[in-house]
């Protein structure tokens, strides 16, 4: 494909050496247009010719009456980049360059928010990165203000205004103390994009269990398990109960159910009972009937 275009353009350049315009007569066209905007080209001379507009990924051709203005409707040229406008007649050719730049109005945001799930109370734990595109998916490289907003379930808002650089902007946010689903919003002009970030409880804090006799065994039950910010640790979290006596040990990994964990365990009088979750230790109880 590239070779064909090179051949074509090469042919045009050879042809240009034979153009028949009078000195000073040239096509009149804008040097720069916004992607998708209408534009016109004033052709010189008289007679018939063909007008080509060639760029990366897009080619337009018009049969034109020389000396008249050729109009291109909105949306004719939409890929940002450098274009060549070539006017070719039977015995002449003329070329001018034309730049198509992204539209200044953003139409689409590519918003990547990381992570989608993190513990509460983490400084700079949430990252948002945005690429700003126009309606034709051209990256808008001109700087523009972009706002990031993180709305927590409790209604608190963290807001940052960042200027895009080469079409991109990013920011960091803190996770708040309350668990729940945060709404992470990126806004450029009237365009916005939303992501959801789940804030989950942290490690259990002040893990505490109680023991009571249950027949020949001991019934161990935790208090409602919460993190250091008071959030209920989610069900399914593993709580490890251990009974140690005279070098012998019994353990049960029990998942939290309805905020608490409870097991029935066999242990003799004098056994040391302990509770833990992950790397967090809870209280210990020496079992005495």
């Amino acid at each position: 494909m590239r070779a064909r275009w090179a051949l074509f353009l090469g042919g045009l350049v050879v042809a240009m050496s034979h153009h028949g315009f009078a000195a000073g007569e040239k096509m009149s066209l804008p040097k720069t247009i916004e992607a998708g905007s209408p534009f016109s080209i004033q052709t010189p001379g008289s007679g018939k010719a063909a007008l080509f507009i060639v760029g990366t990924g897009q080619v337009l051709k018009r049969d034109v009456q020389l000396g008249q203005t050729v109009f291109f409707a909105a949306g004719s040229l939409y890929n940002a980049g450098h274009y060549l406008a070539v006017l070719e007649g039977d015995s002449f050719a003329e070329a001018e360059s034309l730049d198509v730049v992204p539209a200044s109005k953003p139409a689409n945001l590519s918003f990547l928010a990381k992570p989608s799930r993190l513990p509460v109370g983490l400084h700079a734990g949430i990252t948002g990165a945005v690429y700003v595109f126009d309606a034709y998916h051209n990256l808008i490289s001109e700087p523009m203000p972009l706002s990031f907003e993180l709305l927590s379930p409790t209604g608190t808002v963290q807001k940052r205004i960042v200027s895009t650089r080469y079409g991109a902007a990013w920011t960091e946010m803190d996770s708040t103390a309350q668990q729940g689903m945060d709404t992470f919003l990126a806004r450029a002009g009237e365009i916005s994009s939303t992501r959801v970030v789940g804030q989950v409880p942290g490690d259990p804090c002040g893990l505490k269990m109680n023991a009571e006799e249950s027949g020949q065994q001991i019934h161990l039950i935790t208090d409602p398990v919460r993190d250091c910010n008071g959030n209920a640790v989610p069900d399914g979290t593993i709580i490890t109960f251990t009974a140690t006596y005279n070098g012998s040990q019994s353990t049960i990994d029990e998942p939290l159910k309805h905020g608490i964990a409870q097991v029935t365990i066999s242990a003799p009088n004098g056994a040391m009972l302990s509770v833990a979750s992950g790397v967090v230790m809870g209280n210990q109880i020496r079992w005495e009937k």
């Binding site: 590519s110 690429y131 399914g236 040990q249 998942p255 967090v280």
Partner: protein, 375 residues
């Protein structure tokens, strides 16, 4: 040309002669495996009688093995078979007996005690089980009394199960770039320690799922030389509990055969985690964990399945710590029988003799597999 014909003729004749010899005077074990010839080992001594029983078990000649037992009136042939292969699908069900050892313990004129070590080949490696047989003389031959272990009877009951189950919906193939997927679980290596052994370097450590969702985990380690060039990369393979529920910790062990610690400058650890649908059921209690000192250092205990479903395969992993709380060794054992609800099953994890003296505490976890679901 003629020489070629002669050679072919010679080969045919030799083959026919060998077939005739093999048919007329077969090797006993081959005859047993063929199924028609029976086992030709004599039962004239307690050892030979026990070996004969071992041959029959290896050949899965259940009828013959059962018929030769002295106490066969006490149980049916089906119970005998189930005692060996498992009453429920388990590692033993799909195992083959590779060999056995017969060890005389005691012998008198009319009875004897024989220990038979059965070496099973299972899908997760070799497994050894031991049975002590009481042998009694019956005329001119000896017979074994099989120490039958009957199927545990679980009393009829309803066990309410209301544990959590996690399901995962991943992003679809048509989603745009920038649409985030479900975050992979956050896991962290909380301890790691290289150990030099005769067979090479071993990395032992612990991995924590610090997230609120279940994780499928594995750990990869790369040994780097002092000039930071990679020496070898290995994974934890099955020396880890691959499924970690929230805040659960698993030990891991990674072996680097034929590497010495003096060659190693640093170690690069890569914990890998991915989201997985999982259930918090079944819960396994590990009861009576006991560190037994050398010689024959081991960790013993019992597993009790607190749930209502049968656990077909249980993998017990022991983490051993020194006085400072640092991991010094990780060892494991697969349980070759199914865990029935509320039924204790014992385990024994062997500890290297040279490390036994350093160990002051331990932590045990169990990974389980149930047909129709896994944990």
């Amino acid at each position: 040309m003629k020489k070629g014909h002669l050679l072919a003729l010679l080969l045919v004749v030799t083959t026919v002669v060998l077939i005739l010899i093999g048919t007329k005077w077969p090797v006993p074990s081959a005859a047993a495996y063929a199924g028609g010839g029976g086992l030709l080992r004599s039962s004239s001594t307690p050892e030979l009688a026990a070996a004969s029983l071992g041959d029959e078990i290896r050949a899965r000649a259940w009828q013959k093995a059962y018929a030769g037992l002295a106490n066969r009136a006490q149980f049916s042939e089906q119970e005998f078979v189930h005692d060996i292969t498992g009453y429920y699908p388990s590692l033993r069900t799909y195992a083959t007996l590779e060999g056995f050892e017969v060890v005389p313990l005691h012998e008198s004129a009319d009875d004897a005690e024989i220990r038979v070590k059965l070496h099973w080949s299972t899908v997760v490696g070799a497994n050894v089980s031991t049975r002590d047989l009481h042998m009694i003389r019956n005329g001119d031959h000896w017979e074994a009394e099989w120490p039958i272990v009957r199927e545990a009877i679980v009393p009829p009951q309803v066990i309410a199960v209301n544990y959590l189950r996690w399901d995962v919906i991943y992003r679809g193939p048509g989603d745009d770039w920038g649409i985030q997927d479900v975050e992979a679980p956050h896991v962290r290596i909380v301890d790691m320690h290289p150990v030099e052994r005769a067979e090479g370097v071993v990395i032992v450590g612990e991995l924590l799922n610090e997230d609120v969702v279940p994780a499928y985990v594995s750990v990869t380690a790369t040994l780097l030389s002092k000039s930071q060039t990679p020496i070898a990369t290995e994974g934890s393979f099955d020396k880890i509990s691959h499924l970690l529920l929230p805040k659960q910790v698993t030990p891991f062990l990674i072996e680097f055969p034929k590497v010495t610690l003096s060659e190693v400058g640093s170690v690069r650890m890569v914990p890998v985690s991915s989201l997985i649908a999982a259930s918090a059921d079944p819960v396994i209690e590990i009861e009576g964990q006991q560190l037994n000192p050398a010689p024959g250092a081991s960790l013993t205990g019992h597993l009790i399945n607190q749930s209502g479903q049968v656990v077909n395969v249980a993998h017990v992993l022991g983490t051993f710590y020194d006085k400072g709380g640092q991991v010094v060794w990780v060892a494991d054992e697969y349980i070759d029988q199914a865990l029935l609800p509320q039924t204790p099953v014992s385990f024994e994890i062997h500890i290297p003799q040279d490390l036994a003296g350093k160990i002051s505490s331990q932590r045990t976890v169990v990974a389980t597999y149930s047909s129709g679901g896994s944990q």
